[in-house]
Symmetry: C2
Subunit: 355 residues, 2 copies
Amino acid sequence: MIPIDASSGFECPIPAEDGERILLGHGSGGKLTSRLIQSIFRKYLNSAELAQGNDAAVTAIPPGFSRIAVTTDSHVVKPLFYPGGDIGRLAVSGTVNDLLTSGAVPYALSVSFILEEGLEIRLLECVLQSMQATASEAGVIINTADTKVVERGKCDGMYITTSGIGWVNDDFAPAGDRAEVGDSVLISGRIAVHGIAVMCARGELGFQANVRSDNAPLTELVSRLRDQVPSVHVLRDPTRGGLATTLNEIAAQSQVTIALEEAAIPVDEEAGQLCELLGFDPLWVANEGKMIVIVPAADAEKALQVIRASRYGEDAAMIGKVVERNPLAGVTLRNVYGTHRIIDALPGEMLPRIC
Amino acid sequence: MIPIDASSGFECPIPAEDGERILLGHGSGGKLTSRLIQSIFRKYLNSAELAQGNDAAVTAIPPGFSRIAVTTDSHVVKPLFYPGGDIGRLAVSGTVNDLLTSGAVPYALSVSFILEEGLEIRLLECVLQSMQATASEAGVIINTADTKVVERGKCDGMYITTSGIGWVNDDFAPAGDRAEVGDSVLISGRIAVHGIAVMCARGELGFQANVRSDNAPLTELVSRLRDQVPSVHVLRDPTRGGLATTLNEIAAQSQVTIALEEAAIPVDEEAGQLCELLGFDPLWVANEGKMIVIVPAADAEKALQVIRASRYGEDAAMIGKVVERNPLAGVTLRNVYGTHRIIDALPGEMLPRIC
């Protein structure tokens, strides 16, 4: 057990004995690429589609679905491993959660790696193991993949791009422009964890913290909502830019004002204290395992119970309301003293490379 | 008209006046990201799905198709612009061609950008313009996108990952494991152009050359085959690793021996001369606008005529045959003197970062 990156506390379970590293030739498309695929990728990623080795994976469209959801995201998080997660878990969770926001049943992910020459292959193995474990948890397969290698200093270990497809039917169709006046706004758990966990893992703060990332796939939570509260209007995961930015996006798409109650917003205790210390507002800190759920008021209590009964949803809370139609759109926050203020989208950069 | 990269001879048509550059904040997910999307991405990439601004694009599955094809590729070509193409045209063409190899009707691409802090925004604009033009030529839409920004020195200008989906029906189902003894092997044009064009563009050779990349989407060529020669057994684009490596992959998937006639293989004249000078074999040089077509002998002449009548197919040729079932698989080449030799997959690296 050798620590790879002392700042993140990560210990790679694969021994460093052989110390094999990525070479430029692993990206050639020739024999070295083929050997990397056979001996490393296939060891961890396994699906019938991937094993066929064609340039495109072909899958039957299941009966009962009339539409398909597609999403893509590149992941450049730094460091690659941090308390509670790693770039592999982040990539799979993020893409699955994006599919879920459209009401889709996530089906498959394609994965493309950009690797830096010199990367220890056992680190790649740890990431692949984590990706397959997270994919299994999320109920998706990895159906096609690609690998490129760039010279030392032209990447930062590895970047991973995941794209996902999922099946959609007409009974459950949440979308960003469907928030309506009177709707209740729910959040599935305590915010501000992921951004703070990643920042702490960089070891630049000069102190230790115990915040662990929330990166997780929310398949179970959303599939319970699909079954029990199909009236849900909007689902959106508040990642980069945090809760405040994501709610502003929804407000703009739906042309409404969303009013939040500060006291109702669940913030992770330690992450909240660190935010205070560092001068951040938890409302703008990234989350990677939370879902905003906007639902007609009549179904809000039921939705809350369904979320709380789901994995990763136990701390869910009702945090506000859609209060008026407003072509200028916006988000307001009422603090504990009853004062209202406008909550804007994140203006510039807060923490680069948190996802 | 200011040359950006003298070695590639590329001239960016967008004036350098404002000199605006990518900032880390453009990857924050906040207001700067939103401004980049609104003012730059939307100017060039336009589809109804993209304009909706949801985390996942949702599309109706067209009637008559029972399956879906999915593919993904990261692109790290260096330089970003080279004679005959650029990273944007390469990414769109490569992904479309991979979809075509499965017999799919290409429908949509998702695009994810990793941008380096300090990149001139007008270079991004040139790439976006080229992507949209190539997508239009290929008959696909760009339905969803993502942007991340990394610090100076952690990327090389930009990396682009494209994933594609296409619709498949049961009437046309080429696959790598369907080559049969007696089949004819065709190539859609002169090989060895892309790899040599990119290498020359790096300006490291000490001389000028006029080789232009063949990067192009082969939608028209394959859709004519689908309509007129649906008996096609295998389609595969010989990119990284060249014709030799790709044929070895097919031979291994189908467990056959493929026998090539050296004299029949069309090689671009100037690229061939440069290969001789540099000690490369054109058989292992990457192509980005060629298709290997393996078809029952009875339909080979017809397939050749159909390809020659298509855009990018005028120099197509019949280059060999599938000669025997062989669990060890392999590719042989008979030269002009009648001698046979074994043609292996590319062993290591030849030209890094050609796609």
